[in-house]
Every structure is written in C-alpha cells, then in structure tokens.
C-alpha cells in the first residue's frame, strides 16, 4: 500500500523493478512472505531490517541466486524469474567483495566486460574509466591482497559498475569498513549514484546508513514489509510501534484516545494532533527523545508537560542522553544537543526537571 503510493507520487509510469507477491521458503523456514514491492528507475533504494528479516534473500532473488518459491519478479516489465544470473542486466557488489584473488585489480574490474564480446581497446578504455571513477588510478596492476579494505571495496564497486547494470545491488557494502571510512564512503556512494543515474538497491542492517544514503527505505521484519517510505517519513511518521522502535530511539506512552484531541495516559491527558482515531481506542504515543524540551520551571503555553527526576546521563559528545524517571515510575529518554562551548551537562543527576513537547511532536500509533 504505502509502497505503491510512493511510486505513484513520483509520477513513474512503470517501475524498473517489481516484486509481485514473492515468497521464498528454505525448507520449513520462510525468508520472504508474499511480498510486493516496486522500485523506480534512478532510485537509491534501501532494504533495511534486522538480520534474518529476508532483505538479503530479496536482493539475491533479484540477482538470480535464489529462485522465488512463489510470485514473480519484473525488471523493465519483463518477468526475470527464469533468467539465470549471468544473463540478468543487474550486477551485485558482494558483502565480502568476492574479488578474484588470482586476478589483478584490472583483471577483476574487466571480468564482466570480458564475458561480452568487447574488444581489447574497449575493455582497456572502460577499465581506465572505472579506475578513475573509484579513484584507484595507478592501482590497476596491483594484486588484490596488496590492497587495503577500503581499496578492495572500491575495486568491487568498479567491477560491478563496468557493465552499466540496470540495477546495482549492494549487499552490506560498507559493513567491513571502519566507522570513519564508512561515513565517508556513504557520501561517495550517493555522489556516484547521482552522477551515474543508475538504480541502486542496498541491503543494510544499519538504519543510520539507510537513512543517509537512500531515497526510499523498505523496512522489513520476518520476511514482510513493515513500511516503505522516504527516510524522513519513516523517522517522523513511523507506521507502527515496531518501525518506530527499530528506527532510532523512541519513547512509547500507552493510552486511550480521549474525548477531545488528546490521549488519556498514565502521565495524564496528553495533547496530540487532530484526527487520530475513535475515542476509546487503545493507542501509543511515539515520542523521539530529541523532540522533548527540558526545563527547571514548568513551561507555559499549549504544551504537554510532565515532571521527573534525572537519574542517568549518557554523554555522547555532540549530545547527551538524559534518562528521566517520571511520577508513574516510567522512564523517558531526552536528547539534548551540547551547544555550549564548555560541553558540560546543563542538568545534573537527581535534578527535578520538566519535560515538555508540543502536541504535533508525537506520533499516535494504533499498532
């Protein structure tokens, strides 16, 4: 539902990739369950979920390494389920890179073209082009075991791009890199994707990575799509408690919809945005830690405000996470940016504080 809406919103006539009620069983285990998903031409699309959620299986079905138990997969409107991997116009960058250890950097990058009827000059030209694209000029003659992890990652990228695939599949492409390099490479990947205009489908378990690189994210769990939407929409308007909890930090307040635009909860009556459901429905208010303000005095105005005691402070450098115990013994997490130059915490342990947020800051979830 959410996925097809999003594609229509982009005004595309035909999706580049379409999974139609695709299921995959491995013996008694169900990896993917009756899943329908569309990916548009030129999108940077992320499949996100905890390990074992079926995201890699979905990617491998698109590459042709797994055959769906049921359902059809379309590429450019053509059913590709029966097409073997070596005939599909998609290429994959493997998680461990899967570089051929007996070939040089050039040999690896040229491998795909060598399988076509490309001339020697053409191959040489394209390899040079690819080496420049991934900034590995001069590394062509190196052996794979003479490269660093980051360089290997770039060779794998070049190798999978040289045939100009209709879709580039990236299976946890940055998982093997250290944190700093990973952050840089994320931006490089985005730049590359924009430059080439190729459709990228990335599989990752790292929600931050998915949010940074992708135009749209499909959040998966137990072989099903939980939500498909652009990153901001998923973060700001999660469709369920599960998605809200999986993406980023969240405070969850249980309650019932009251007579007005509010929720009756253990914290009292909380104001929310209009049109959340029928009075008496059981709901949850999802509240992001950074959307909550903290003050010593009770704030004025049309705000929700609850009192509590700071009992834990996690200093993260750029921000601090305060854990505040409320009157009903529940705990609320509050993230405050450390903007003052001193960097010291504005609130100390055992401080009595007021937490407040405007009605529109929270998301009311029904499931």
């Amino acid at each position: 539902m959410a996925d097809s809406e999003a594609v229509e919103a982009r005004g595309d006539i035909q999706p580049l990739v379409r999974f139609e009620r695709v299921s995959k069983h491995f013996g008694a285990v169900t990896a993917v369950e009756a899943l329908t998903l569309e990916i548009a031409q030129g999108e940077f699309f992320a499949l996100l979920g905890p390990s074992g959620c079926g995201k890699t299986t979905l990617l491998r079905m698109l590459a042709g390494f797994e055959v769906p138990t049921e359902g059809r997969i379309f590429l450019d409107g053509e059913d590709i389920v029966s097409v073997p991997p070596h005939r599909r116009p998609v290429n994959m960058m493997f998680q461990n890179y899967a570089l051929f250890p007996h070939l040089t950097v050039e040999g690896n990058i040229a491998f795909g073209l060598r399988q076509e009827k490309a001339t020697r000059d053409e191959i040489a030209e394209r390899v040079t082009e690819m080496l420049a694209l991934v900034r590995l000029q001069g590394f062509g003659r190196r052996r794979i075991d003479q490269l660093s992890g980051g360089q290997r990652q770039r060779v794998a990228l070049a190798r999978s791009l040289i045939k100009h695939p209709r879709v580039l599949l990236l299976d946890e492409p940055l998982a093997a890199l250290d944190k700093k390099l990973r952050a840089e490479t994320q931006f490089e990947l985005m730049e590359l994707q924009r430059k080439l205009g190729t459709t990228f489908v990335i599989v990752t378990h790292d929600q931050q990575e998915a949010m940074i690189v992708a135009d749209r994210i499909a959040v998966m769990d137990h072989g099903r799509l939980m939500q498909v939407a652009p990153p901001a929409e998923i973060y700001e308007g999660p469709g369920s408690r599960w998605v809200a909890g999986f993406i980023g930090e969240v405070n969850m307040v249980e309650g019932k919809i009251g007579p007005g635009e509010n929720i009756d909860s253990a914290l009292g009556t909380l104001l929310v945005s209009a049109g959340v459901g029928e009075a008496g429905d059981k709901v949850w208010l999802a509240l992001r830690p950074e959307k909550i303000s903290m003050s010593v005095d009770r704030p004025k105005g049309n705000l929700n405000a609850v009192a509590g005691t700071v009992f834990e402070i996690g200093y993260r450098g750029d921000m601090s996470i305060y854990r505040v115990r409320l009157a009903d013994r529940s705990v609320m997490k509050v993230a405050l940016a450390n903007m003052s130059a001193g960097g010291t915490a504005r609130y100390a342990l055992h401080d009595l504080v007021w937490l407040s947020w405007p009605p529109e800051a929270g998301v009311v979830l029904t499931g």
Binding site: A63, G64, F65, P84, P85, H86, R87, V90, N91, M92, F94, Q95, N96, A98, L99, F100, P101, H102, F111, G112, Q115, E116, D145, R159, S160, K163
Partner: protein
C-alpha cells in the same frame, strides 16, 4: 618479563625437538648411506671397505677418508642400465601423476560440492583403503589382473574381449597399481583447496555474465592450482622411488630405479652402488621436494 627464561628454555626445547628428530632419523642414516656410497665392495662383513674404526681416533679417520672413492658414481654414469632406470621411473611417475590428476580432480570436486553433511563420509571413503595393508592391496591386484583373474572374467562375460588378455606383468598393470594406491594423496589436497574456496566467487562470476562451465575455467581451476601441484608432488615424489608396485605388478622388461636399487643391494650385494643410486635418487627428487616446500610455506603465510 621475569620468570621468562625458564619458559623460553621450554619453548626452545620444543622447537629443537623436530630438528633432533630429523638429525637422528634422517641426517644420520643419510650420512651413513653417503659414506657407504663412497666405499668399495668387498667380500667381508659388512660387504664394503673401508670400515670406519672410531677406536683408531683421528689417525683412523684420516686413513678412512683417504680410501673413499667415487667409483660407484662413475659406474652409475657409465652403465646405461642406471640411466634408463631413472628415466623409466620419471616416465612412470609423470604419466601416473597425469592420470591421477585427471581422475582425482573430478573426484575432489565432487566431494567438495557434495552436501556439507555428506563430505566427511566421502573423505572417509577416500581414506578407507589405508585401513588395509598396502602390500595386501597390491597383492589383491595380482588376483584381479592375472590371466584367470577377476578382470578377464568380467570382460569375457560381458563379451568385451573374446580371449583372456594379459594384464599382469605390464606397464598397464603398473599404472593401475600406482593410480589406485596414490589416489588419496591426490584427492585430499585437491579437496582441501576446493572446499576452502569461497562460494561467493562463483556467484560473482555468474553475476558478471560468466556461464557455469566458463566459471570453472576462469575461477575454480586457477584457484585450485595450488592444491593440484601439492597433490601432484605428493604422488610424483614417492612414485619415482616406488618398488613394491612395479616389482609385483610390472613385467621383467620394466625396471624402475627402486627395483634396480633392490637388485644391487640384495642380489649383487653391492652396497656402495646401491647407496650411490639412493643418493642420486634423492638429488633427483630434491627439486620437486623444494618446490613443494616452497608452496607449503607460501600457503602457510597466506593463511595467516
């Protein structure tokens, strides 16, 4: 770092152990054989001269050294029989190794591609013949290959041949014996390399447009060269010096170096020439042994 010296002493002792082993069980016999190869035959006990008399001290040693000669080696180079034996051995070893590779590779490949749970069982099956004495297994082949043996019997019944053929006492019998006996030595190292190979490399090749049969030539084969070389050397080196198989299964016209050595030693009682043959054989095999050694070391380094 206190209290370390004792520990270091222990470590040193452990490191020393293999060297001690080599010194006692390899170097000493080798020096003795080398010494005998430089002696002359004599009707005596032992059947060669000079005999080193350690009781005579330094003077005795000098006396001994003066009497050493290279006559045996001269004989080896002057009589064509020895050269032909060496060449025959190399030929048999080379052809056997090629046949072993041709049979062993699909064998190892099949095991490596079998379901994970089945693999130990299949490896076990390859090693199983070792549970019976090597000699008995070669004798069994005499039974199979002889004129009224199992092979002729089956072939006659299937009407593949009309009259019993001669298998035993021929080069064919030698090759059958060699290939049969050494197959595990070929299969195991090949299996080890093939089994270690990353499956995703094959997927990567397929992903880049390479059909399966071509992936075998472009990826699998080049990556298993090391296992193939290890297996080939593991077969080639002992086959060159093989004695039992050609002696029991081969014909009288085939003389491998092992048989020539045996004849010199037991029939002619010419210990010096027999020793010289052994030394030359070792020199001959040193090249492939060093290649193997080098290969092992490299794969150890890469395994780190």
């Amino acid at each position: 770092m206190n209290g370390e010296p004792e520990k270091r002493w222990n470590v040193r002792a452990i490191v020393l152990l293999p060297y001690l082993w080599l010194a006692v069980f390899f170097l000493t016999p080798f020096v003795i054989v080398l010494k005998i190869s430089l002696s002359q035959t004599a009707l005596a006990q032992p059947p060669y001269l000079p005999v080193l008399d350690l009781a005579a001290g330094w003077a005795g040693l000098i006396e001994f050294a003066k009497e050493l000669s290279v006559d045996s080696y001269r004989l080896l180079s002057s009589d064509l029989l020895y050269l032909l034996s060496y060449l025959k051995s190399l030929q048999v070893a080379a052809i056997s190794t090629i046949i072993l590779l041709a049979i062993g590779y699909p064998f190892a490949y099949g095991i490596a591609r079998a379901p994970r749970g089945l693999q130990p069982l299949l490896v076990m099956a390859v090693v199983l013949p070792f549970w019976t004495s090597f000699l008995i297994r070669v004798y069994a082949w005499i039974n199979i290959l002889q004129r009224d043996g199992l092979l002729n019997d089956v072939f006659l019944r299937l009407q593949i041949i009309n009259a019993p053929a001669t298998w035993l006492s021929s080069d064919t019998a030698i090759y059958i014996g060699m290939v049969y006996s050494y197959l595990p030595f070929m299969v195991l190292p090949l299996y080890a390399t093939l089994e270690k190979m990353d499956e995703s490399l094959l997927e990567a090749a397929a992903d880049l447009g390479c059909p399966r049969w071509k992936t075998f030539w472009l990826v699998t084969l080049p990556l298993s060269v090391r296992g193939a070389v290890a297996g080939a050397l593991l077969c080639f080196i002992p086959i060159v010096g093989e004695f039992v198989i050609p002696d029991l299964l081969g014909g009288s016209e085939t003389l491998m170096i092992g048989q020539t050595l045996w004849t010199e030693f037991f029939s002619n009682r010419d210990w010096p020439v027999a020793s010289a043959i052994a030394i030359m054989l070792l020199a001959l095999l040193l090249v492939p042994i060093l290649v193997y050694e080098r290969l092992q070391r490299r794969s150890l380094e890469e395994g780190r």
